[in-house]
């Protein structure tokens, strides 16, 4: 990591000047070693922790000898000499080079050593027994993970940062994990005894056993590890051992080349070794007597070295780092910085503990500045504290704010006191000054506006509370985040504003809306909602863009949990025929439907078709789409009405068939399930549908709105009573159009009706108090007229690969093996 970082920094400053050659013992480009514990726990794939793949090097004309270890520097002839590694050896091992291979020599003007460190191996017999692993490289990680599959128990030797991360990672492989620590507490470098005890309890609650003050002397087992023996003679069974007991700098090449080496390779403030043309950076370095094993100091060293080598800033100097760290163990919040205990008589200690919740907070303050801090169990203020620690800011008088944030609504002084160059958003590198400017000059008065303006808070989001505090300071108030009122998250407009803008600018496609109203940013989560809205605004002129449709609407079938699709032919009013049933049965058989299911909406669901079979299924069915997908009108269920029922008062079948034929495929904010009932016995459950029509005595129909019998149960509200099928159709259509225009995306009718109130709806839809009745009728009529059965695409696909299964590409076998 350190080596590649220096190269990146150098290229950033001057991409042309140097011919760069790199040696690396590992067979890859470089990767982010900090994330290895995530790879072990399976939360990240190996590939995604690679920082620069091999291609990156070749594209930049960097000659990379991957898998070749640099073994010596010939300072007289100015050559770096390396040898290829044996494939089986550890890259950080003491030897491991293929002695029979021809050495590779490269000449140099300047050399940068970034050999890093190797795991420290405590003196123990049997270290080479199979089942013992070190935890250092991406290959180690892979081997640990695959070996763990055949294990029940694992021991991690070392209770430091990395050891605990390894232990948590092993838990995900379902092994019982025990951590051994030679010291009387965990994480000696970062914690005091009390917080370490709390952490131990937390780890044990997660299932990691912790044994302190335990020194193992022997690894037991011949063919593979079976256990450990301790100093006191006792033993502990295990199937595998992972050693993570600290690191030691790799300094052989420096020693062998005659450079000054103490604990690490000794470097000055310009990262120069005892030879002025040889530099070193990273974990192999000893700077002002200190060795660093964390990433921040190494990045600082790399930046300094790049300044020196490119002569961009010959005065650059690295003067040491202040150490702050976080434990990346899922389920544990822990931040630590600087000293763990007071060191001078006047040091002030601020302490808060709440053992029942596992919370422990401690600050060590010297001359009103933070010299150390531990936050365990609750790390809300870790960001501010780290800033104040590194920048040596003068602390506010009220120390409690530092532990708990602002308690009385007053701005937290710490953020206010930060200098303008302090970085607030670490993901996007936005400084306090940048945010201040956005607030004062850009008039951004909400966290999201600041984000849109500066990108602050748009990464991991953890700095949003700091941005909020800055808003309180500089804007005097925080405006409520308006984004919750947006129609879709990706376009900063409420539904009425959005409709007005779309109409004013004549935007007919989803991409046009993104282009004109969202700065060109195509938010995938907003596409479907926009498509639905546009289609209802421009029934005829809507420019259909397939990528804005959910998969169901691209293939006109419903995606199922196994990636197959289900098809539901439309059966108007639930009435079918023997011939239709036969056809459905034949298709189900021919294309091997995994299940044939009668739905609650009185239709037949054919489940488990392959995507590629869908067109053939449709063609052979020859029945229109039943729209079991799409946020749209779905079905109109019916009882048998007057045809056969002894109690039937109205012809509910004829009405439901009219309703289905009229409204099929009409899109709306959410799905609409309807029913008609021939009498108030309500056999078709019309009271609990989005829209229902119930026949009552006297040739009349009651129209109900906003019923539900799904996730919510609600009896619909009576809108009005009418005397004909045509009137039912008219009021239902009016409601649908009004809901299409005013419902929020994904707002079901029952939410909509409750939100507006039935009186208001009755005023608008029945009494026409707003004078929009005729317009609503006309709009829904236009939408009905624009309907096309999507199943026509069975014969005319929009794209040649619209319905294809994964396209197979075969790679010739002999080439793969090569």
């Amino acid at each position: 990591m350190a080596g590649a970082r220096v190269v990146e920094e150098i290229l950033q400053r001057d991409a042309q000047r140097f011919a760069i050659t790199m040696f690396g013992a590992e067979p890859y480009g470089n990767y982010n070693r900090i994330l290895l514990s995530n790879v072990l726990s399976g939360s990240q794939q190996m590939e995604e922790i690679f920082l620069n793949p091999l291609l990156w090097y070749s594209e930049r004309n960097i000659a990379l000898h991957a898998g070749v270890k640099a073994t010596s520097i010939d300072r007289v002839r100015r050559l770096v000499i390396g040898k290829p590694m044996r494939p089986t050896s550890l890259p950080y091992g003491l030897d491991g080079c293929d002695q029979s291979a021809t050495p590779i020599a490269e000449s140099y003007d300047q050399v940068i050593i970034a050999t890093g460190s190797r795991p420290f191996l405590p003196p123990m017999e049997g270290m080479d027994t199979p089942g013992v692993f070190q935890f250092r490289t991406v290959d180690d990680c892979g081997q640990i993970a695959s070996y763990a599959k055949q294990c029940k128990k694992a021991i991690v030797i070392g209770g430091g940062l990395l050891g605990l991360e390894a232990a948590r990672g092993l838990l995900t492989h379902r092994v019982e994990v025990t951590v051994l620590e030679a010291m009387p507490q965990l994480m000696t470098a970062q914690l005091d005894p009390e917080s370490a005890t709390l952490l131990k309890t937390t780890m044990e609650r997660m299932g990691v056993q912790v044994l302190l003050e335990q020194i193992a002397t022997h690894i037991l087992g011949d063919e593979r590890v079976t256990g450990l023996r301790f100093k006191d003679g006792s033993t502990l069974e295990t199937d595998m051992v992972v050693v993570s007991a600290g690191i030691r700098p790799i300094t052989e090449i420096a020693k062998d080349s005659g450079l000054t080496v103490e604990k690490g390779i000794v470097c000055d403030d310009q990262m120069r070794t005892s030879d002025p043309d040889i530099f070193a950076v990273g974990e192999c370095v000893q700077h002002r007597g200190v060795l660093y094993g964390l990433v921040d100091p190494i990045w600082e060293q790399a930046a300094t070295l790049a300044d020196i080598i490119t002569e961009k800033n010959p005065q650059a100097a690295y003067v040491g780092s202040k150490l702050a760290t976080k434990l990346k163990v899922m389920g544990v919040q822990l931040a630590s910085m600087g000293a763990t205990k007071p060191a001078q008589p006047d040091d002030e200690v601020v302490l808060y503990r709440e053992p029942s919740r596992g919370v422990y907070k401690k600050l060590i303050i010297r001359d009103d500045k933070l010299v150390g801090g531990i936050l365990l169990g609750e790390t809300d203020t870790a960001g501010v504290l780290t800033q104040m620690f590194t920048l040596e800011t003068v602390l506010p008088e009220r120390r409690a704010d530092l532990l708990f944030g602002s308690s009385n609504g007053a701005p937290i002084l710490s953020v206010f006191d930060l200098p303008d160059h302090a970085q607030i958003c670490n993901c996007n590198g936005v400084s306090k000054g940048g945010i201040k400017e956005a607030i004062l000059i850009g008039k951004c008065h909400s966290v999201s506006k600041v984000g849109a303006h500066t990108k602050a808070g748009m990464g991991c989001g953890s700095c949003k509370s700091l941005i909020m505090q800055l808003l309180e300071v500089y804007a005097g108030e925080v405006v409520e985040d308006p984004s919750e009122h947006y129609y879709v998250p990706g376009v900063p407009l409420t539904k009425p504003e959005l409709i007005a803008a779309i109409k004013a600018q004549g935007l007919k496609s989803v991409s046009a809306v993104f282009r004109e109203l969202a700065g060109g940013k195509e938010d995938p989560g907003s596409k479907v909602g926009l498509a639905s809205l546009l289609k209802s605004l421009w029934p005829h002129e809507y420019e259909d863009e397939r990528d804005a449709r959910f998969i169901n609407d691209r293939v006109h079938a419903n995606i199922q949990r196994d990636g197959t699709f289900s098809v539901i032919p439309r059966i108007y009013g639930g009435v079918t025929s023997a011939a239709e049933l036969k056809k459905i049965a034949e298709v189900a058989e021919k294309y091997q439907a995994k299940m044939v299911k009668l739905t609650g909406g009185q239709r037949i669901d054919l489940l488990g078709f392959k995507k590629a079979d869908l067109p053939a299924v449709w063609k052979e069915l020859g029945i229109p789409s039943g729209h079991a997908y799409t946020k749209a009108f779905r079905t109109c269920k019916s009882c048998v009405g007057t045809d056969f029922c002894r109690y039937g008062l109205g012809d509910s079948i004829a009405l439901s068939q009219k309703i289905e034929r009229r409204f099929q495929g009409i899109e709306s904010p959410h799905k609409m399930k309807l029913a008609t009932a021939g009498c108030p016995r309500n056999c078709s459950e019309a009271y609990v549908k989005d829209l229902g029509a119930v026949a009552i005595e006297g040739g009349q129909w009651e129209i109900y709105l906003g019923g539900a019998a799904g996730g919510s149960v609600r009896k619909g509200d009576l809108l009005c009573t009418v005397t004909s099928h045509d009137e039912v159709l008219r009021y239902m259509g009016r409601f649908m159009q009004y809901y299409r225009e005013n419902g929020k995306y994904l707002e079901r009718s029952y939410g909509f009706v409750e939100r507006l109130g039935i009186e208001k709806l009755r005023d608008v839809l029945v009494h026409d108090t707003e004078g929009i009745g005729t317009r609503l009728d006309a709009e829904i009529e236009a939408a009905v007229a624009a309907y096309k059965d999507p199943w026509e695409e069975a014969t005319k696909p929009v794209h040649e690969n619209q319905f294809t299964n994964p396209l197979a590409v075969s790679v010739r076998e002999e080439e793969v093996r090569a």
Binding site: G67, E522, P524, D547, N801, V811, V816
Partner: protein, 124 residues
């Protein structure tokens, strides 16, 4: 699709693992703004073609419940899984708000063809 011989094929080895470039066919086999799934030998790969023309390639299924990612919604360098709306960054593979990620592959357009780089895991 172009016959195999005419496609861009390149591979290089770093001694331990083999990287290779595989030609998946013409760019327009992936509709603009959508994704399509491929199987290269037995490896499932999803290729996404954003409306601005940018290409992305990832593993083909969602680690959450094996959803077919190529059927997802694409935009702003992200894909949303069609099954449970898990949202992944197509460059890094990170899943928003979740502790999981998908594998991503370097991909580019070469003479109108999609060329994806597969490695370092071995193809079956």
């Amino acid at each position: 699709m172009t016959p195999f011989e005419e496609r861009v094929e390149r591979r290089w080895s770093d001694g331990k693992t083999t990287w290779r470039s595989v030609d998946l066919g013409t760019v327009d086999s992936v509709p603009l703004g959508e994704g399509r799934a491929y199987t290269v030998n037995n490896l499932g790969i999803a290729v996404f073609r954003q409306r601005d023309g940018q290409l992305f390639a990832t593993e083909s299924t969602c680690p959450h419940r094996n959803g077919p990612l190529a059927d997802g919604l694409v935009g702003d360098g992200k894909v949303i899984c069609p099954l449970h709306a898990q949202k992944f960054d197509l460059t890094t593979g990170h899943c928003a708000g979740e502790d999981m990620a998908i594998r991503t592959y370097p991909v580019r357009e070469v003479h109108g063809h999609i060329v994806v780089e597969i490695g370092p895991q071995t193809l079956a």
